[in-house]
Subunit: 318 residues, 2 copies
C-alpha cells in the first residue's frame, strides 16, 4: 500500500506538471487571437484520426530570421558585422582610404556608402565574405557574435532573439515539427550560432548562398568562399531556397516583411491545413514600431494569394 | 514472488532480444574486416566518456547513391528515365525525328547520342528535366519509378537497392547518426522515392541541382524547373553540396567510384574519428564486377589524402 501511495503521488505530480505545460505552451504570448490560432492549428494537425492530421515528416515549419526570430533594427545584424569586418581588415588595405565604398564606410558616412548602390554593396560583401575558407569564416563569425554588442541595447546580438518566438519554436518541435530558418541573411553567417540560440541545426538553416570551390591547400582539402551569389534567399528566392534545401512544401510559415511574402504564399497554396503568420512590430517602447518607413524590412504587401477558396490562415501578431 | 519471477523473465527475454540485435546489426554482411571496422567505429563514437565520443548532432554520415546504395549498371537509372521520357514526349515533338541527339536516341543509336557530347546531353536533360513545375516533375518520376523495370533483372529500380547498405543505414540511424545521400544524380529525381526506399527524407537528399523560378500561374504559385545547372554534385562538387546543404563536415562517408573521392577526402580530413568506405563491386554472378573498364562510374583513384598522420580509415568492401 505504501508503495502504491507513492506511485499515485508520483502520477499526480506528473499529471499536474503535464497539465501546466499543456495549459500554457507559449507563456510569453498574450492570450489573444494569434496564440489561440497557433494552438488550434497545432492541435488540429497532430490529432490522429482527424481529417486535418498531418504525418510527422510533413510537419515542416519555416521561419524568417531578421525581424521574425531576432531584431533587425536599426539595421540587419549582418550589415553591422560587415562594417566591423571592414574596420578590422582596413590596416591590411591602405588603398581603402581612397577607394569607394570603403573610404565612405571607414569615415562612417553611410549615405556615401548607399550612393555606391548595389555594386558598392557587392564589393563590401566580396571583401568581407569571400576569399577565405568556410572554416575561417565560421571562426570569424563565432568570435564576433560572442562579443559584439547591439548599438541600442548593449546586449549580445544572440540576446536579441524574441522570447515568444523561442517558445514557439520549442512548442512546434515538441509537437513533431521540424523547424527551419529561411532567411535573406547569409547561410554561413547564421549557421555558427543558430543551434545554440534557436536549437536549429546547420542543416536546417536556409539562407542567401555564395559560391564555394574545393581546393587542396598544403595537403588538406578546403572550401574557399567565392564572391558569386548562388541564391538570393529573399522574396521570390525563398520558395526556391525551400525547395532546394527542404524539398517539400512547409505547412507553416512565419515572417515579418515583404521579403517573406512569397514564402508565405508558397506555404499557403499547398493542400491541407496551413498556417501563416506575420509578426508586426508595434511596440516602440519595448523594441521598435515599424512597417513602411524605415531603412530595412518594408512591410507593404501583407496579402496572400487566395487558394481553393480556403482561407490562408493569415495571422498578424501585433 | 510470483510477480518478481515474471518481471525477471521479462527482463531476461528483453536481454536476449537486445543481445541478438547487438550481436548482429548487419546480418547481410560477411563477418570480415569491413563489417568489424564499421561496428568498431560506431561503438567508439557512441561510447560516452570515450576520447572518441562524438555528440549526436555531429554524427553525420553521407552516402553516394548510384553504385553505393543501389545498382548503377548497365547505366545510371536516371539515364534510363531520360531515355523513356524522350520516347514518351516524342509524339509532341515531330522535329526530333531529324534533330540530334534526339533522332539518334529514338533510333536506339547510343553511339550516335554519345557523339553529340556534353552539349547533346545538356539538350536531352533540358528537354526532360526542365520546362515543368517541380510538382509535375515529381509526379512523372513517381509514376516512372513505380513501373519501370531494370533491363537485366526485370525488377523495379527501387528493388535494386543493396540490402547490406539498407542495414547499414538503419544501423547508423539506430546509433544516432543522421544519414544523407550525396549523389551526382538529380536532387529532384531522387526525392520522390528515397524516403520509402532508404528512409531518407527529402531534406536529407543532396544531388545535382537545376535552377528554379518562382511564378504565379493561374493564380497559384509554382516553381518552374530551368535548364541551368546550379550544382554538379560530383567529384569536387560533392564537398560543396555537403557544405551547402548540411553545413558541417560528415564523420562517415560511403562511395564506390572516382566521383566520390573528394567527398571521402573532405570527410577524412576533419578532426576526430572518421570512417570512409568504398564499395568495390567484384561479384559478377550476383550483380556486377567492375571498376575501371565500364561505361559509368570509374574507380581509378581510391586514394585518400593523408591527414595529421591519422589513417583515413579507408575500407574497401569486396
Amino acid at each position: 500500500m505504501k508503495t502504491h501511495s507513492k506511485l499515485l503521488a508520483l502520477v499526480l505530480l506528473l499529471g499536474v506538471s503535464i497539465a501546466t505545460a499543456a495549459d500554457d505552451p507559449l507563456p510569453s504570448w498574450n492570450d489573444t487571437a494569434p496564440k489561440k490560432a497557433i494552438v488550434a492549428f497545432v492541435e488540429k494537425v497532430t490529432k490522429e484520426g482527424s481529417p486535418d492530421f498531418v504525418p510527422e515528416p510533413e510537419r515542416i515549419a519555416v521561419f524568417d530570421n531578421d525581424g521574425t526570430l531576432w531584431a533587425e533594427q536599426p539595421v540587419y545584424t549582418q550589415v553591422l558585422f560587415l562594417i566591423d569586418r571592414i574596420k578590422a581588415l582596413a590596416p591590411q588595405h591602405p588603398e581603402w582610404k581612397t577607394k569607394e565604398p570603403f573610404a565612405a564606410l571607414l569615415k562612417g558616412d553611410l549615405h556615401g556608402v548607399a550612393a555606391t548602390g548595389e555594386a558598392g554593396f557587392a564589393e563590401l560583401m566580396a571583401a568581407t565574405h569571400s576569399g577565405m575558407t568556410t572554416e575561417e569564416f565560421s571562426k570569424t563569425v563565432s568570435e564576433w557574435i560572442a562579443t559584439a554588442k547591439h548599438p541600442k541595447t548593449g546586449k549580445l546580438y544572440t540576446e536579441m532573439a524574441y522570447q515568444p518566438m523561442l517558445e514557439l519554436l520549442a512548442y512546434l518541435r515538441a509537437n513533431g515539427f521540424k523547424t527551419f530558418i529561411v532567411s535573406g541573411g547569409g547561410i554561413e553567417f547564421m549557421r555558427p550560432w543558430t543551434e545554440k540560440v534557436y536549437r536549429i541545426s546547420p542543416e536546417q538553416v536556409v539562407g542567401s548562398t555564395g559560391g564555394l570551390k574545393f581546393e587542396v591547400r598544403d595537403g588538406s582539402p578546403v572550401l574557399m568562399k567565392l564572391p558569386t551569389l548562388i541564391l538570393n534567399d529573399d522574396k521570390e528566392g525563398k520558395p526556391v531556397g525551400i525547395q532546394r534545401h527542404i524539398g517539400r512544401r512547409p505547412i507553416a510559415a512565419f515572417g515579418n516583411s515583404d521579403g517573406d511574402l512569397h514564402m508565405l504564399q508558397w506555404t499557403a497554396a499547398g493542400s491541407g491545413p496551413r498556417f501563416c503568420l506575420y509578426v508586426h512590430h508595434t511596440d516602440a517602447e519595448r523594441e521598435w514600431a515599424y512597417d513602411r518607413n524605415q531603412l530595412v524590412a518594408g512591410f507593404r504587401e501583407p496579402v496572400l494569394l487566395p487558394h481553393d477558396g480556403r482561407s490562408a490562415g493569415l495571422t498578424i501578431v501585433n
